[in-house]
């Protein structure tokens, strides 16, 4: 079940990029760059695993995949320290508070493509 989740989402990415390419008259894409937040439900390793199957027979068939990870950072509601949620297990390293506002980390973005 798990890996299929990523496959569905990667197919969505392929569709979006193909539409973009058509609209902009691109015929070949060298590299596709995705940005994935550390706290997103997408797991980069699984995305890489199902990518070849997802692009097979599409405009992205020979396109390289690059994934950039965006940090899951938060700001403490009590002392305003900015910290990484995963590294600190959701606890502020300065005042030990568990209340924070997330600054990022749930993204799943098609950042850019490198085209010829």
């Amino acid at each position: 079940m798990r890996i299929l989740h990523e496959l569905g989402v990667v197919l969505e990415v392929v569709k979006t990029v193909e539409n973009f390419a058509k609209a902009n008259g691109l015929t070949k894409i060298d590299t596709l760059v995705l940005q994935i937040g550390e706290l997103s439900s997408m797991i980069p390793r699984y995305i890489e695993a199902c990518y070849p199957a997802a692009v097979d027979g599409t405009l992205l068939q020979d396109t390289k995949l690059k994934i950039e990870i965006l940090p899951g950072n938060a700001i403490c509601k009590h002392c305003e320290k900015v910290f990484n949620v995963i590294e600190n297990n959701g606890v502020c390293p300065k005042c030990q508070s568990k209340e924070f506002n997330l600054l990022g980390g749930k993204e799943f973005i098609i950042k850019e493509i490198v085209a010829c």
């Binding site: 989740h5 569905g8 969505e12 979006t16 439900s41 799943f108 950042k111 850019e112 493509i113 085209a115």
Partner: protein, 222 residues
């Protein structure tokens, strides 16, 4: 040497699906067809609840059902016995439906004259939460045997639905399930959510659920 250029896209991956979903929603609205997207874990009681709902509403509105399943027809067969029009959608291994697949199902069903279309999504609490199907309203079922901690484990699903049905309340005596705790956890994620305890088996609470649904259908057509 070929020269490469970097083209910024900066588009959230779901925006394409979201656009399709909005388009479908608009079409349904024009046609006065209300689409309910029903989600839950496998076995929580989606099909049983759909049967109860059809039974309660079939004299007041024309109902169509989309049964999404990875690869079987069992649920569609059960529902077709009610006389409601049913379309089976096979997701071919995919763990959710997107707006495109829903649109195909709706086209096959033919929405002309359909007042209420119910989509039984694939049994799964993770993936369907991320894909807008184009539904008018989203509902989920949490059944008593699954436990009252599920809002903590699957926060996204609980935060996107309009109504939560707590099913199998006839089995409350056997399981440690704290309805108040669920309500509190869910309302923290989703302050506007409506929570309705039901038993699709005994029929308890179905009246309240059907009343909620009837009201939503009415609002949709205003």
């Amino acid at each position: 040497m070929s020269s490469f250029k970097v083209i910024e896209i900066k588009e959230s991956v779901f925006s394409d699906n979201n656009k399709q979903a909005d388009k479908l929603r608009e079409e349904l609205k024009k046609n006065k067809t209300f689409l309910l997207n029903l989600m839950s874990s496998p076995g929580s009681g989606k099909t049983t609840t759909v049967l109860r709902t059809i039974e309660a509403l079939k004299d007041e509105m024309k109902i169509g059902v989309l049964e999404a399943d990875i690869d079987s027809d069992v649920d569609a067969e059960k529902v077709s016995k009610t006389g409601a029009k049913v379309i089976q959608l096979h997701t071919g291994g995919m763990c959710h439906l997107d707006a495109d697949m829903t649109n195909q199902g709706i086209t096959e069903l033919g929405i002309e004259g359909i007042d209420l279309a119910i989509l039984e999504n694939v049994g799964n609490l993770v993936c369907p939460a991320e894909f807008d199907t184009g539904a008018s309203k989203n509902a989920m079922i949490l059944s008593v045997p699954e436990g009252d901690d599920k809002p903590l484990k699957y926060p996204l699903m609980f935060s996107i639905v309009d109504v939560l049905l707590i099913n199998k309340i006839d089995a409350m005596g056997i399981f440690d399930f704290d309805i108040e705790a669920v309500k509190k956890r869910v309302e923290k994620l989703n302050p506007n959510i409506k929570v309705i305890p039901i038993s699709a088996k005994t029929g308890e609470g179905i009246d309240e659920w059907v009343a909620w649904l009837r009201e939503q259908v009415k609002k949709w057509n205003e």
